[in-house]
């Protein structure tokens, strides 16, 4: 398999230790790119066997796929591709775990089921059951439950899908037409953000289409479930890559990154891939779209109360799509906001899809380190361009007892934009 050829380039220099978040926490070889690659290499050389040594699968699963090692590796070894190939192979032998069946094929593959789950979560929150969980008596015994509970934001809204029509047209003539890809996490956990972005973009003259899309497929890809990835991509492609749409945008960096790689998702050497490849450039990070296509027009913005904002780079935005300056430019353009950089803004938050649930301990430690950096920056607001990172960092902040608002950069911009304005 071609992805395994990557292994050959690793000459064990160890430089990846300096950026790998899991190594940073554990300081153990098994949790570094070098170690992970070594094990997959031995497996490929026939020294080990998935069946006889299932420990390898566990260690391959510990990788966040954050790609920090890849961009810092002097030999540019694509550790993420090696890990994905290994997961694919393992899945072929073992099949999906119960957790993966429930979460991925069971829930994420079906929007309606996710939305029903959202109703339950809101019920749980409103009923006050949450307060019992946090009460002193139960606290110690229920640590794990509390960890999971911390992911649930207070005042969770109903799914965004039900709050928005399928087409939103601006008041005047449309500057261009765009698809707003409403991903799973945005739909269930990010309704406030989605509404704000949609309103803002429409107020700037964008005609937005919100087709009923399926999951982007990235969560399934990380487990190696290639068949499901292909099925989901095939379902979404005709909905979003239509001739009359100029751009495809989303508030979720993970979805954006996935959509921009749909030729790989659908199967790299297939005719479908050939067809979709020329259209992939239409997928655009929403921050970049605002900066490049709409313009920031800082003179028209109302000042917001003086606030220090720090920005967390999502892996899929920064290393996946090369988004670095646009979100920062947005923050700097809003009067009243000051951008303060945190240490290691570019290191993974540990959310990594469902990593927070499959690896609660490591994920929690990575989040805690990130929260310390956020705190040290002196910021009083955190800006993030991804609902998954928002969920993870929101939970990390809550566990640390911090009340920092977590907002999308465009949400901040929207707050300063003249209401109902039209250009």
């Amino acid at each position: 398999m071609s992805d395994y050829r990557e292994i050959q380039r690793c000459n064990r220099c160890g430089f990846c230790q300096s950026v790998c978040p899991t190594y940073g926490q554990s300081r153990m070889e098994a949790q570094s790119a070098r170690g992970r690659i070594r094990l997959v290499r031995l497996l490929n050389d026939g020294q080990y066997d998935w069946r006889r040594d299932p420990g390898i699968a566990e260690k391959v699963d510990d990788c966040l796929l954050c790609r920090a090692c890849v961009v810092n590796c002097p030999a540019s070894v694509a550790t993420d591709r090696i890990m994905l190939a290994a997961r694919r192979d393992f899945l072929e032998i073992k099949g999906l775990s119960l957790f993966q069946r429930l979460v991925y094929r069971g829930a994420l593959s079906h929007r309606e089921r996710l939305e029903r789950a959202s109703t339950l979560m809101r019920l749980y929150e409103k009923s006050g059951a949450r307060n019992i969980l946090y009460s002193r008596v139960l606290r110690r015994t229920l640590d794990r439950l509390i960890y999971f509970d911390s992911f649930l934001p207070a005042g969770l809204e109903a799914p965004a899908r039900g709050q928005l029509p399928e087409i939103v047209r601006p008041r005047g003539p449309a500057r261009f037409k765009a698809v707003f890809f409403l991903g799973c996490a945005s739909n269930v956990f990010g309704a406030r953000t989605v509404r704000s972005l949609v309103n803002y973009l429409v107020s700037r003259g964008v005609e937005l289409h919100l087709p009923k899309v399926a999951c982007c497929g990235e969560p399934h890809r990380t487990t190696g479930d290639e068949r499901e990835v292909r099925r989901l991509a095939a379902k979404n492609i005709p909905l979003i890559f239509k001739d009359n749409f100029d751009f495809i945008i989303t508030d979720c960096s993970t979805c954006a990154h996935a959509l921009a790689h749909y030729d790989q998702f659908i199967g790299e050497e297939t005719p479908e891939a050939e067809k979709v490849r020329p259209l992939l450039a239409r997928v655009k990070d929403v921050n970049t779209l605002v900066v490049e296509e709409l313009g920031l027009e800082p003179d028209r913005l109302r000042p917001l109360p003086a606030t220090k904002v720090t920005y967390h780079d999502s892996c899929h935005a920064l290393r996946g799509l090369g988004v670095k300056s646009a979100p920062r430019e947005i923050i700097k353009a809003v009067p009243g906001l000051t951008l303060v950089e945190m240490k290691a803004a570019d290191s993974c938050c540990g959310g990594a899809g469902s990593y927070g649930f499959s690896h609660p301990e490591m994920s929690g430690r990575i989040a805690a380190a990130k929260v310390r950096n956020i705190q040290d920056s002196g910021a009083d607001t955190l800006a993030v361009s991804c609902p998954a990172c928002t969920l993870q960092l929101g939970a990390g902040l809550r566990r640390a007892g911090l009340e920092l608002p977590v907002l999308h950069p465009v949400e901040l911009l929207a707050a300063a934009a003249p209401t109902g304005a039209q250009t």
Partner: protein
């Protein structure tokens, strides 16, 4: 006693190596109680993961222990002494000479979790650290205070201070600021029997003889370093970074000798050959000239007019020697990119061939141009790819011999070429290693570099401090000077 497989790159360390264990169950149980079960690893996969470092040598330990505190470290060493277990100390595992692999089994004792900065004293300009702290983490810690720790080996992103001390690492700034031993004021050591001693400025009575130097470059074979008191240096106020391009490798070497003999002391003087330039351009896209035979990176630091005078002299020398182009880095970003490129040299070799033997010979500075050309000639004659980079300012060459791990014949040719390089360097009045250590790689050459008396002296010291030869067994000294596993000497 078990002996590991021959030093080859590819295979599993564990399979085909079923010797008798020297560690009994009580030892493993007690070790687990000291450091916690998560940090006492005996599973087959963890053994694999601690069988290698950045060198071609692969040998499996029987147990991997990662203490979380100095006290735990000490208890483990005591326990090992009771059970007579061999200990191979390990930092980040970036040794290029096999220093961190357990040649004779036993325990790998990794200090990566001992990574705290304990005390910063800006008045005395010192910092006290745990030995597992990563060099670059220390630099980042010091920077806001306007200080640096000058030794900066290319592996500084990952390498620990324990490793820097064990190998007496130099690095890019070595030519002006000296190497690790010039910046270590005192050590806290755990001896083979578990005793804790402090040396140099860390000793209670500073008037006692300072034995700190004894442990510099001792490769973990005399004691384990738990803490180090380091001298820190103010960051240079201003600097200039110059790159010069040559159509011949020897010319770049001549430029180096001339710069030094003109009395200029650059912070860094680094030579990179054609193949390295191509590999690094492929990685970083800096616009390096792909047709150049050699590039010389020069950095000078200091203050205003003096700095500009030196810069002018450097430009003139490069031009006189026949540089095809000389240029000044425009800004900080460009400078950082140039150094990132140089530091990435070793890892970037993976772009050319999957496996590397890195050599580390030093020669007197006036012999540098000739030595660079000799290595080129050896490369041609043995038909092996040798990529050259050098800390040229102190005559420290780093020829990288590349091979395919599945091609045994090519690996053999590399070994032969390597031996010839060692011989030539010694003939030129040089040394086997500038900073990578003897490890497993260069033991057989020790007899050539040192006299019998010198080797016996080293052997005596080893026998005093580690009579059972349990600390990094089988390393540094040839077997007939070494006690314990892999050695032929009784204490």
């Amino acid at each position: 006693m078990k002996t590991g497989p021959a030093p080859v790159y590819g295979g599993s360390a564990v399979s085909g190596n079923q010797g008798e264990s020297m560690l009994n169950r009580d030892f493993i149980k007690e070790a687990g109680q000291i450091v916690g079960r998560d940090h006492c690893l005996g599973g087959i996969l963890d053994i694999e993961l601690y069988s290698y470092d950045s060198s071609p040598f692969i040998h499996p330990p029987e147990l991997v222990i990662l203490p979380g505190t100095v006290e735990e470290l000490r208890q483990i060493v005591r326990l090992a002494a009771r059970h007579q277990a061999p200990l191979t100390p390990r930092g980040a595992g970036t040794s290029l000479s096999g220093g961190a692999v357990a040649r004779h089994g036993g325990v790998v004792l990794a200090v990566t979790r001992l990574n705290r900065v304990l005390e910063l004293d800006l008045l005395a300009e010192t910092v006290l650290v745990e030995s597992g702290l990563v060099n670059l983490d220390l630099q980042n810690y010091l920077e806001p205070y306007g200080y640096m720790f000058p030794p900066d080996p290319a592996s500084q992103k990952a390498a620990t201070l324990a490793g820097n001390i064990a190998e007496n690492a130099g690095g890019i700034k070595g030519v002006k600021y000296g190497i690790t031993k010039h910046h270590v004021l005192g050590l806290e050591l755990v001896l083979a029997d578990g005793a804790l001693v402090r040396t140099g400025a860390l000793a209670e009575r500073a008037a006692a003889p300072d034995s700190t130097g004894l442990f510099m470059a001792s490769e973990g074979a005399l004691a384990l370093v738990s803490k180090a008191l380091l001298k820190i240096t103010p960051l240079p106020r201003d600097y200039r970074t110059i790159s010069a391009v040559f159509d011949d490798l020897g010319k770049s070497g001549r430029a180096v000798s001339e710069i030094i003999s003109a009395g200029i002391l650059p912070t860094a003087l680094e030579i990179m050959d054609h193949q390295l330039i191509v590999a690094l351009e492929d990685y970083l896209h800096l616009g390096f000239p792909l047709d150049a035979e050699a590039m010389l990176l020069i950095e000078i630091d200091g203050l205003g007019p003096e700095l500009d005078r030196q810069m002018k002299a450097v430009f003139e020398i490069c031009e006189k020697v026949g540089a095809a182009g000389v240029s000044l880095a425009r800004d900080l970003a460009e400078r950082d990119q140039l150094w990132l490129a140089r530091r990435s040299g070793n890892g970037a070799m993976g772009r050319i061939k999957p496996a590397t033997i890195v050599q580390d010979v030093t020669v007197p500075i006036d012999q540098l141009p000739a030595m660079l050309s000799r290595v080129q000639e050896i490369s041609r004659r043995h038909e092996v790819t040798i990529v050259q980079m050098a800390h040229a300012g102190d005559g420290n060459l780093h020829p990288h011999l590349l091979y395919d791990p599945y091609d045994q014949a090519e690996y053999q040719r590399c070994l032969e070429a390597g031996h010839e390089i060692f011989d030539d360097a010694l003939k030129a009045g040089g040394a086997l290693t500038g900073e990578h250590g003897i490890g497993l790689e260069k033991i057989e050459f020790m007899d050539k570099q040192f006299s019998r008396e010198e080797l016996e002296f080293m052997s005596e010291i080893k026998k005093i401090l580690d009579p059972e030869g349990r600390l990094n067994p089988g390393k540094v000294l040839p077997a007939h000077y070494l006690p314990g596993p892999g050695g032929e000497v009784s204490a």
